[in-house]
């Protein structure tokens, strides 16, 4: 092995994050264990440890229990279930993979939502003997809600249906309908047996009728690239770096698009404009050269920019190209996933953390709750743990936003309880509310500084009045 060549090749590897969805019985942990084992990611001492644990906790008799490679916490091993999100890693010639391993039961919907929030691809496991179940519909809804564009439908336990091609064909056809219903962009179908490794890493000899790629080579080669050039530049300001009076840099990670020195930019929500004076790409900084400058930068680089004019910019602001402004509003239609044991309170103020800004707000109306098994919309008065609903969110200040469909980074937020400090919900911005659009005209009125200060005072001190920002 020529190590220098190897390192060169691996410098250019890209990264793919995927999520596995399935219930305990679908063999999800077994599939991941199998992927890691067959991809040679399990080392001798780990294998020895799992062999000794297999005897104690295993559920597979004589065979090594592959699931034990991935079931993390001691209490979970004892109960034989996965109850939280666990992250696993492996690498091939082309890619580094990050697996979010999440539980599939309905009571763990929030964990699946968490795992799906960072995934590029989802693998949905279906038991070949059972076909599409309500849990399949539930998992599919969640991954489509979280904006995952590539879904691999893994039809598992083919060994238990005699590797029958018709069974595979029928389930695939059924799923195509479901995918259409949910407007899922790209679906891929693979018949496999995780227990024996058929079509996981190596092509199955038991299913010669299946000529597509096995799971690992599909993951390794699928195109998940985004078109950076077509995206609008979005830069949430994360940190102001001011070592001395001569330097004032705005640090952050580009959420979408690209930026060049000299570009005309607008700061939101203040709407002040200036130009980009310099860009430091943090990736280029070394111990010897801590003043390295770049002409341009693109998503998802961590950068620091300076501006031509001295403009008031702080954490939580968003910098964008002046000719590609996002919407600005404090009244939003959102999809909300409730993640706390205590119910959502439509009269309570919550902290809404979106990108780098934290603003308080209330969910003033619940439009409907989604039944995630049937996709029916129900009218409800309150939201409990794991409920997914459409709500109207009223913030105490307007924010610059894109919809979640346009941009995952600037269209998503978490909800923090101001008393317990827990993360109680997660949301996705769907658009402006109707109510706001109707009254949009009022906002064009010019206010005096005193009026603005009064408005600010009311919003800061009496958030329960739901006063709108001017």
């Amino acid at each position: 092995m020529d190590i220098t060549n190897y390192l060169k090749e691996h410098e250019d590897k890209d990264m793919l994050r995927f999520l596995t969805c399935g219930s305990v019985d679908d063999g999800k942990s077994t599939l991941i264990g199998r992927l890691l084992y067959d991809a040679k990611m399990i080392l001798d001492d780990q294998l020895a440890a799992v062999e000794s644990e297999s005897k104690k906790y295993g559920t597979t008799g004589e065979k090594i229990d592959m699931a034990l490679f991935v079931d993390g916490l001691q209490s979970e091993r004892e109960q034989g279930i996965t109850i939280d999100v666990a992250y696993r890693f492996f690498t091939t010639e082309n890619r580094k993979f990050i697996i979010a391993d999440t539980p599939g039961h309905e009571q763990y919907t929030r964990n699946m939502v968490t795992g799906a929030s960072t995934a590029d691809v989802a693998i949905i496991l279906i038991d070949a003997r059972k076909g599409i179940l309500s849990q399949t519909r539930r998992h599919s809804y969640i991954v489509s809600l979280l904006g995952i564009e590539h879904i691999i439908v893994a039809i598992n336990k083919m060994d238990l249906v005699d590797y029958n091609q018709e069974v595979f064909g029928k389930i695939s056809q059924d799923y195509v309908q479901l995918a259409n219903e949910l407007k899922i962009k790209n679906t891929y179908y693979i018949p496999l047996s995780a227990l024996d490794g058929d079509n996981v890493v190596d092509r199955s000899e038991n299913m010669p009728w299946f000529s597509e790629k096995p799971l690992l080579s599909l993951l390794d080669t699928m195109d998940i690239s985004k078109k950076i050039k077509e995206e609008k530049f979005r830069f949430p300001v994360q940190y102001v770096n001011r070592p001395n009076l001569d330097f004032r840099g705005f640090c952050g990670t580009i959420a979408a698009g690209s930026v060049k020195v000299g570009d005309k930019i607008t700061v939101l929500p203040s709407q002040k404009s200036t130009r980009v004076k310099s860009i430091i790409n943090s990736g280029d900084i070394t111990e010897r050269n801590c003043k390295s400058l770049s002409k341009e930068a693109f998503v998802p680089m961590a950068i620091t920019i300076t501006t031509e004019d001295e403009v008031d910019i702080s954490r939580g602001d968003m910098i964008v190209h002046s000719d590609a402004l996002p919407s600005l509003s404090n009244s939003l239609d959102v999809m909300l996933v409730w993640m706390d044991e205590s119910e959502m309170d439509t009269e309570k103020n919550y902290d809404i953390k979106r990108a780098t800004s934290v603003i308080s707000g209330i969910f003033e109306a619940i439009n409907y709750k989604v039944d995630i098994n049937t996709y029916e919309k129900d009218e409800v008065k309150s939201l409990a743990l794991n409920d997914i609903s459409s709500c109207r969110l009223l913030l105490t200040h307007p924010i610059a936003f894109d919809t979640y469909r346009q941009n995952r980074e600037t269209g998503s937020f978490i909800v923090v309880d101001r008393i317990t400090n827990n993360t109680v919900g997660a949301g996705m911005i769907m658009g402006l509310t109707q109510k706001y659009e109707d009254t949009d005209m009022e906002l064009s009125r010019e206010y005096t500084n005193e009026e603005k200060a009064l408005n600010q005072y009311v919003r800061d001190n009496f958030p329960e009045w739901n006063c709108r920002a001017i």
Partner: protein
């Protein structure tokens, strides 16, 4: 314009996390253990805040049983890069003359590491503590959040972790509580080595193979680093070509036989290796779920 390589994506993610800490907390600190992961973290922090100096101090919990070279390397780095360094050792442990040879790895780690860390954190009143743990190191770490909440007794509750979505981190805490932050959660051992190679990051020479005096002790090869090793044990020392895959307290850190004297040779050896990194560490093998228990008690 290309997509970023996986290492550049990991780097950007880590920088984002470090900046989030600096922006959201009043009194953060970064753990510094002198090992390769700490070296990578220091490098990332320097990138995140250039051209400024680091906006937080580094904290080294010195168990007083670290390799001599680690301490030299640490002090050299402070001089070169000019960061603030806080060093803490458990005075009660010093008074009790705690020794891993005499009291065993569990007692030594509890008192000189876990307890010392709690003391240092209480003393510094840090509200955010940045650590270099990675999710690929151990099973219980695989489920830990990047921003991991600790109560005022520094305890981790694995069953009651805050959901963590997208790259939005909940940094809200009450006085006395804290958050442990792990910016390199998603890096693997291979990523770390590749990055050290790519960026030319300085690491202690203990990682490179050299003829060193070692003894067999509790199933691992321990290097004779000072006079405190019991005489009987020292008598059995022989010279071998060895290096270390992790660095810690010298009596608890196993050397491996190796001829890898350069970074590329280390990476090659690692790629062909059949055992995982922590195998050379005594403390993780004490019992099944050992790390999970230690973490609940406040260990990183």
């Amino acid at each position: 314009m290309n997509q970023l390589s996986h290492l550049k994506q990991l780097e950007a993610e880590s920088i984002y996390i470090l900046r989030e800490v600096a922006a959201e907390f009043d009194n953060p600190v970064m753990m510094y253990s002198v090992g390769k992961d700490s070296s990578v973290m220091l490098h990332l922090a320097m990138k995140a805040f250039a051209p400024s100096k680091l906006p937080f101090p580094l904290l080294h919990v010195d168990t007083l049983w670290k390799f001599k070279e680690m301490i030299e390397f640490r002090d050299k780095k402070v001089k070169e890069l000019g960061f603030d360094l806080v060093v803490h050792s458990n005075q009660e442990g010093i008074d009790m003359d705690i020794s891993p040879f005499e009291h065993g790895s569990k007692v030594h780690t509890d008192i000189m590491k876990t307890e010392a860390l709690k003391q240092a954190l209480n003393k510094g009143k840090y509200d955010a503590v940045i650590g270099g743990a990675r999710r690929d190191e151990e099973k219980s770490r695989a489920k830990e959040r990047i921003f991991s909440f600790r109560d005022k007794y520094h305890r981790w509750d694995p069953k009651n972790q805050r959901p963590e979505l997208w790259s939005i981190y909940n940094t809200s805490i009450e006085k006395g509580e804290s958050v442990r932050v792990f910016p390199i959660s998603n890096w693997t051992e291979l990523d770390i080595w590749q990055y050290i190679y790519q960026e030319g990051i300085d690491i202690p020479s203990l990682y490179f193979a050299k003829e060193r005096e070692v003894v067999e002790y509790e199933g691992i090869k321990v290097m004779v680093d000072d006079e405190r090793m019991p005489v009987n044990l020292r008598k059995t020392a022989k010279k071998e070509m060895v290096r270390f895959r992790t660095l810690g307290c010298y009596p608890l850190t196993g050397a491996i036989n190796s001829t890898a004297t350069t970074l590329t040779q280390i990476i090659k050896e690692m790629l062909l290796s059949t055992s995982s990194e922590r195998e050379g560490r005594l403390i993780d093998k004490d019992q099944i779920g050992a790390m999970e228990l230690k973490k609940k008690e406040g260990y990183f």
